[in-house]
């Protein structure tokens, strides 16, 4: 029994799925995105380095190289249109030994071939002048001014909201169980019934191999590659101003040290292949590794200011490149699979590319009334005295501070809940307005935020979840 029919169905509400949905929303077609969790940005997109890579790392000619550079170039306009936090703080890659200089030169050459602008190799002394906490062992560095940092939640949520505002439907808590090819499209079996789609876009992250393999004989295989991170308090946020990489090794880009757009200092990730795609458990060994290896690049990191540690799983495909495009033996089924780093940077460009392919297939025309703009969250803590005063006058809830570490007001939390695709869980609120992301890690504001969530959504207190069902915060009313 088919419950609903769409021209296009996107599987996965991470940054790639949301970018595809937002680009598809430019066209006259019926569109739906399926997400197995309660919110977008619940998998790899929520736990990564939050970097917009310049694009010198990927091998020229690969999809990673192509989409990274294109995605990077799109980011300024996108950030303006969708009002998420993005900053071109620049990236540097450190070289620690003279014999490694050829590797650094190779990166520079790759960057040139990939079309990265402004690259420069500087001496150890020069980089220490630019970034005083770089260690004395560094002999040279590649500087990439186009590298940036972004709020990965902000970007993903902004894309999703804008897609929804332009007509895309979002079905949450919806897992894809199977996909069957039928005459003029596909039938997607989910835990919430069957959905017919003329075209399907597979953006299922670490599960994109399983989704792909449901329709194709050319099998994909993804290895979940886990990375642990430590996040330090804002007090440490100015320890470096550039994103500091080490010369890449076998398992990716090494340990980076970077400021975040929220003003914290981020260290990580490790890279360990794991069996379980949901294995986001940090380990003592890896966290120790993060500390040890970050100290190779940057001096005097104040590890005692760590406020949280977390782990993300990257979708590493055996072919070592993004798998993007229509599947050869499954017409009208499109992959965005194996999207590991630089996936966050590439997502906007992947969205444009796939949306064009899909629209072309469907013969869909662009809408006249597509609105590319989306209003960002009001961030009281970043406003001037006068702006804040005016906001509180307009809505007194902006004058009630709930999260004291990040200075997040009740007004901001209410907005996060009540806007398009609003938050339904504590993590959802946190990712939107950064409540509970500070040094006390929601120690003081958990109960108040739960009350607001309950009041605004009608979900009883006992049913308020940290994220999806099964993560209830409370056991029972006394």
């Amino acid at each position: 029994m088919i419950d609903s029919r769409y021209d296009a169905v996107v599987i996965g509400g991470g940054v790639v799925g949301c970018a595809v949905a937002r680009e598809l929303a430019r066209y006259n077609l019926s569109l739906c995105l399926l997400e197995k969790e309660e919110d977008v940005c619940s998998g790899t997109s929520k736990a990564n380095s939050a970097i917009v890579h310049a694009g010198f790392d990927a091998v020229p000619g690969t999809k990673k190289a192509e989409f990274n550079v294109k995605g990077n170039q799109m980011m300024d306009e996108l950030a303006r249109d969708l009002e998420f936090e993005f900053k071109r703080n620049g990236s540097v890659v450190l070289c620690f030994a003279d014999e490694d200089m050829p590797k650094l030169a190779e990166l520079y050459q790759r960057g040139l071939k990939n079309g990265v602008e402004g690259l420069e190799i500087v001496s150890g002394d020069k980089i220490r002048e630019m970034e005083p906490n770089i260690t004395d062992e560094v002999v040279a560095a590649l500087v990439a001014p186009t590298g940036g940092i972004v709020c990965p939640f902000g970007l993903t949520i902004a894309l999703a909201e804008n897609a929804a505002d332009n007509g895309a439907e979002f079905k949450f808590n919806t897992s894809v169980l199977n996909i069957k090819k039928v005459e003029d499209g596909y039938v997607i079996e989910t835990n919430n019934g069957e959905i017919f789609a003329k075209t399907v876009i597979n953006a299922a992250g670490v599960y994109s191999d399983e989704i792909h393999n449901m329709v194709s004989e050319t099998k994909l295989h993804i290895t979940p590659r886990k990375g642990d991170y430590c996040l330090l308090d804002k007090e440490a946020g100015n320890h470096v101003s550039y994103t500091v990489f080490q010369l890449p090794g076998k398992y990716g880009k090494g340990i980076l040290v970077s400021p975040t757009v929220h003003g914290n200092l981020l260290l990580g990730p490790t890279a360990v292949d794991v069996d379980d795609k949901d294995n986001t458990a940090t380990t003592a060994k890896e966290l120790a590794d993060v500390a040890k290896k970050s100290a190779v690049s940057v001096k005097n990191i104040p590890y005692r200011l760590t406020i949280t540690s977390f782990s993300g799983v990257r979708a590493h495909e055996d072919g070592d490149d993004f798998v993007i495009g229509e599947v050869s033996d499954a017409p009208c089924f499109f992959d965005a699979a194996g999207i590991e780093s630089p996936g966050l940077s590439s997502a906007p460009a992947i969205g444009v590319y796939l949306a064009e392919l899909v629209a072309d297939k469907l013969g869909a025309e662009k809408k006249a009334d597509f609105n590319p703009k989306r209003k960002g969250f009001v961030k009281l803590a970043e406003k001037s005295f006068e702006e804040r005063a005016a906001l509180i006058k307009e809505n007194p809830l902006y004058g009630v501070i709930v999260c004291r570490c990040m200075n997040v007001s009740e007004g901001e939390i209410v907005d996060a809940i009540n806007r398009t695709l609003g938050a339904k869980s504590l993590d959802g609120v946190k990712r939107r307005v950064h409540q509970g992301m500070g040094r006390c890690q929601a120690g003081f504001c958990t109960s108040k935020t739960m009350e607001i969530l309950s009041r605004e959504t009608g979900i009883p207190m006992e049913k308020i979840c940290k994220n999806s069902e099964g993560s209830e915060m409370l056991s029972h009313k006394m």
Binding site: S309, G399, I401, R439, C440, S475
Partner: protein, 421 residues
């Protein structure tokens, strides 16, 4: 810009006691700024008894203890604002706060009393490895949800850390029907009060495992279990000692951190051991007219001591406002903590302008048996008090009398140390 004689930041036990004593000392133009919706601070959720034995010579619950101070403040008509979050304090004593009614407001003060209290150390700061599921709470957050909101956070409970809130919550959750399986403590001793270990753990047969920590957290959505292991002398887990506990709740009671973000902004000198500002015998920070008291200064065990300390800060702030200046003639002595004494509060004493006596509070670094606490003026031992047991979880104090300095006109240093008795 409205100017007040004294602005008190924080309306918990410290702020209330400070404001009351400032008013008694003759200053009426006071404003208490409290960020919560009620006065009384963390006491409101401490519904157990054991408060007030020193101050009132009777045993009160937290809300009862708070109520006595709130009533007194109201009787004395001390002004206060609720829901008022202080955003910044400048060295010139300009305070920016916001609330629902007034929006964003700037005021200035002749004297400021810092009484912001402390917060709990969260899981992230402990860097406990594992998943990040629901069901992990700092003990005080769980206490608030139970005692203020009326919800239980779980049924099968493991507690990491033996700070007083954790011990109190072990008993509270047991009384509410939960099964508290174990309390694990990283250190070889408890950070809590002896009486709480007896009354909250021993009386309920809850095991306390010293030199143990959580090395793994299971459960992707809600916590399903933890692994606890013994640690060696360097606090590193010993392989092979891991024990798994099924649980739906992990409470953390692993230390309290004074909330000094505003204090740092003023630019006063901070103390790395207490995480509070350095103060003199008047509890005045490095910036003239800025005083600190209670848990923002250093974490206390007993609210009674907070009240006493805060009353002194209030009195001194009033004296500062009324006299207008500090005396020109000073004789500053630095207090030095050594050999098992971790810190002292205050960190300096101005013998010339001190009161008749000053209480010096401090903590020791480890459990010590049959040691004495010795006080040296310069290199001369002037006091030695034998103690059967000294423990990090119990704050110690000595009184130094102004008279006692008469014979030591030239000393620059006082040392407080433990010694073999």
């Amino acid at each position: 810009m409205k100017q007040y004689d004294i602005v008190v930041i924080g309306g918990g036990p410290a702020g209330l006691a400070a404001a009351i004593s400032a008013k008694k000392a003759g200053v009426s133009d006071i404003m208490i700024l409290e960020r919560d919706a009620t006065l009384g601070g963390i006491l409101n959720q401490c519904i157990h008894n054991g408060f007030g034995l020193h101050t009132f010579k009777e045993e009160l619950t937290g809300p009862e203890y708070a109520a006595r101070f709130i009533e007194q403040a109201k009787e004395m008509e001390i002004p206060y604002k609720l829901g008022a979050m202080v955003l910044s304090v400048s060295p010139e004593k300009v305070i920016t706060y916001m609330n629902k009614e007034e929006g964003l407001v700037q005021i200035s003060a002749k004297a400021i009393i810092l009484a912001m209290g402390c917060r709990e150390r969260p899981r992230g700061a402990l860097n406990i490895p594992g998943f990040r599921p629901a069901g992990i709470y700092s003990a005080g957050t769980a206490q608030r949800l139970m005692n203020i909101e009326g919800y239980s956070v779980g049924k099968e409970v493991v507690i990491l850390g033996s700070g007083d809130i954790g011990l109190i919550m072990a008993r509270r959750m047991t009384l509410e029907g939960a099964n508290v399986k174990v309390v694990a403590e990283l250190m070889p001793y408890s950070g809590g009060l002896k009486r709480n270990i007896v009354q909250c753990l021993n009386d309920f047969n809850i095991p306390l495992k010293l030199s143990h920590t959580v090395v793994g957290i299971d459960g992707e959505k809600r916590i399903t279990g933890v692994t606890i292991a013994e640690v060696d002398a360097n606090r590193q887990p010993i392989p092979g000692t891991e024990v798994h506990y099924d649980c739906d709740t992990l409470l953390l009671s692993c230390g309290l951190i004074p909330e000094n973000e505003l204090t740092r902004e003023i630019g006063v000198e901070m103390n790395r051991v207490t995480s509070g500002p350095n103060v003199d015998d008047k509890l005045q920070t490095g910036v003239e007219g800025v005083f600190a008291c209670g848990n923002v200064l250093h974490v206390h065990d007993l609210v009674d001591h907070v009240s006493a300390e805060a009353a002194l800060a209030g009195e001194n702030a009033a004296a500062y406002v009324l006299s207008g200046t500090t005396s020109e003639k000073t004789h500053k002595i630095t207090l030095k903590a050594e050999n098992g004494v971790r810190y002292t509060v205050p960190q300096t004493i101005d013998v010339e302008n001190m009161r008749d006596s000053v209480t010096v509070r401090f903590r020791v670094a480890d459990i010590y048996h049959d040691r004495s606490i010795a006080v040296y003026y310069g290199d001369k031992k002037v006091m030695s008090r034998k103690k059967r047991v000294l423990a990090p979880g119990e704050m110690e104090q000595v009184q130094l009398k102004k008279d006692s300095f008469k014979d030591y006109p030239d000393i620059t240093e006082i040392t407080i140390r433990t010694e073999e008795a």
